[in-house]
């Protein structure tokens, strides 16, 4: 996530806002093209997996050694066990968002990919679904690897991992759809600062590093309204426990988010392109 922040700021520096014109677009186009074609793109894709893993090792294991245990559902668990599912949810979120915000925005604004696609019988909602599928692939690529690491480190059981896996897919779809809807509203690269700031704030305060019950009440209420909190709680419940009816509430939140995001994205893509 820090990577995105740094890149966003840098792009802002080199691609001043409101510049939709050819040269910048062409430069970016070429870069992305170059990235896509060579092994570099795959290296970058793979490296995206390491960021949440490094947080897990640093905060979960490193700081965890100082923390000892934290209560989950009234039962004390190792701090690393507490943090790991949260990082899993974060990797699902950021994998999906990276594809649907940055890349979709690029295709919209510079590559004009969708203009070409819409000249064919493909409908806007199909574009939205297609993008979402690809985002989901990237997201699941991250979460499968992450679950393997969790099992190897003894941070969850094989059963827990198998239960959590479909939940990470739901998280990916929910954030992917929302990200796509958001990217249709972005005015320029400068809005990525805002987006990454929001993403980072969610990352720090969604019951990721300490239980939300510790937050001041007002704060806790606000957090329970935000999406990553539900993603973390759902994934944590399935991977670590306890499994209960409340997990359905979290899942329902994500389903609504996915449907709403997709609906808005499809409507906006149609509106922006079919003029």
């Amino acid at each position: 996530m820090m990577t995105v922040m740094a890149a966003g700021r840098a792009l802002r520096r080199n691609l001043p806002g409101g510049v939709s014109a050819g040269r910048v677009g062409a430069v970016l186009n070429r870069n992305v093209g170059a990235l896509r074609s060579g092994p570099a793109y795959w290296l970058v894709l793979l490296s995206g997996f390491f960021e949440p893993l490094l947080y897990l090792l640093s905060i979960g294991v490193g700081v965890g050694a100082l923390v000892g245990t934290v209560p989950v559902g009234g039962r004390p668990v190792d701090y690393a066990v507490f943090v790991a599912p949260a990082m899993l949810a974060v990797s699902a979120m950021s994998g999906a968002l990276a594809e649907t915000t940055f890349n979709v925005f690029f295709k919209f604004k510079y590559a004009k990919t969708y203009d070409a696609v819409l000249a064919t019988p493909v409908r806007p909602v199909e574009i939205a679904l297609g993008e979402l599928m690809w985002a989901l692939v990237r997201c699941l690529f991250y979460t499968v690897l992450f679950l393997v690491v969790m099992v190897v480190l003894g941070l969850t059981s094989v059963g827990g991992a198998l239960a959590a896996f479909p939940a990470t897919a739901l998280v990916g779809v929910a954030f992917g759809a929302t990200g796509m809807a958001i990217s249709t509203f972005l005015r320029g690269w400068q809005d990525f600062d805002l987006l990454t700031t929001g993403q980072f704030t969610l990352f720090l305060f969604s019951g990721t590093f300490s239980p939300v019950q510790d937050y001041p009440v007002v704060f806790e209420v606000i957090v329970t309204l935000t999406p990553l909190y539900h993603a973390v709680e759902l994934v944590r419940g399935l991977a670590v426990g306890p499994v209960g009816w409340t997990l359905l509430v979290h899942a329902a939140y994500l389903v609504v988010m996915a449907v709403a995001g997709l609906w808005v994205a499809a409507r906006r893509i149609g509106k922006l392109l079919l003029v």
Binding site: T3, R9, R13, N31, L35, V44, V67, T201, L204
Partner: protein, 252 residues
């Protein structure tokens, strides 16, 4: 100071005026959010560490890490961009500005930024009770040293690459690991020995320990001169690496 160096510094400040609000977030808000989430949130479970609260313990680490990340952020895309896209260095090259001025002016710009940035951070954390010693006032200087020691080698890298895809690797395999494992959030003594060695080599760890010594009013793990020497070594080697990289790239 050479006039041309100041002219280069001014150019970066002029650019920065436009981007102040965009970068204010990462310079000022982000470290505070970190402190609240990890320092206060997780700190509640840690209790004391070496006789001080966990919040007080990570304040100097977050401070130095913020400076470090600013240095890396400012010397990756912006430097490559001035070689490749805006060709700002080529424009300078046609004037009496020397390569040394280009490098020094840009590093100076980061120093000019980090000093007030660290001072503001100090003012905020003092409200949280995050400082324990008046020696805290020297931390802006330590952070400036961290910035110089980390910016120069990265400038050298940016001067040698052509595809910005490498930056994602630099961030994920160098910058973030260093931030997470160089004594910012937990003592490096907890790390396996090999990782400890890596932390000792990194410029950030020395900055973190010097800042920590200052804000807690204790002696750093190594003698002060030894920490300072490591930062100076990075500065000298990085400066040489950057100057050579710039000279080569501009000499075709």
């Amino acid at each position: 100071m050479a006039h041309s160096t100041v002219a280069v510094l001014e150019r970066h400040l002029t650019l920065y005026r436009r981007l102040f609000w965009a970068s204010a977030m990462s310079s000022f808000l982000l470290p505070v959010l970190f402190l609240v989430s990890i320092g206060l949130g997780v700190g509640g479970y840690v209790g004391d560490l070496g006789g001080v609260s966990y919040l007080q313990w990570i304040v100097p680490g977050v401070m130095a890490a913020t400076a470090f990340q600013m240095a890396v952020g400012e010397t990756t895309y912006p430097v490559l961009g001035d070689f490749k896209w805006t060709r700002g260095y080529h424009a300078m090259r046609a004037t009496p500005v020397r390569i040394g001025d280009m490098v020094a002016g840009q590093v100076l710009f980061m120093v000019v930024r980090v000093l007030p940035q660290t001072a503001v951070f100090l003012a905020i954390v003092v409200l949280f009770g995050g400082l324990r010693s008046w020696w805290s006032v020297v931390t802006p200087l330590v952070c400036a040293a961290v910035v110089v020691a980390s910016a120069l080698p990265v400038m050298g890298v940016s001067a040698r690459i052509d595809n910005d895809g490498y930056f994602a690797l630099l961030f994920r395999f160098v910058m973030i690991p260093m931030t997470l494992f160089a004594g910012v959030f937990f003592p490096v003594a907890q790390l396996p020995l090999v990782a400890q060695w890596l932390a000792w080599v990194s410029p950030l760890w020395h900055g973190v320990e010097l800042c920590r010594a200052a804000t807690l009013g204790v002696a750093p793990p190594w003698p002060i001169w030894a920490h300072a020497l490591c930062l100076v070594a990075w500065t000298v080697a990085g400066g040489w690496f950057a100057m050579r990289g710039f000279a080569r790239r501009l000499a075709v």
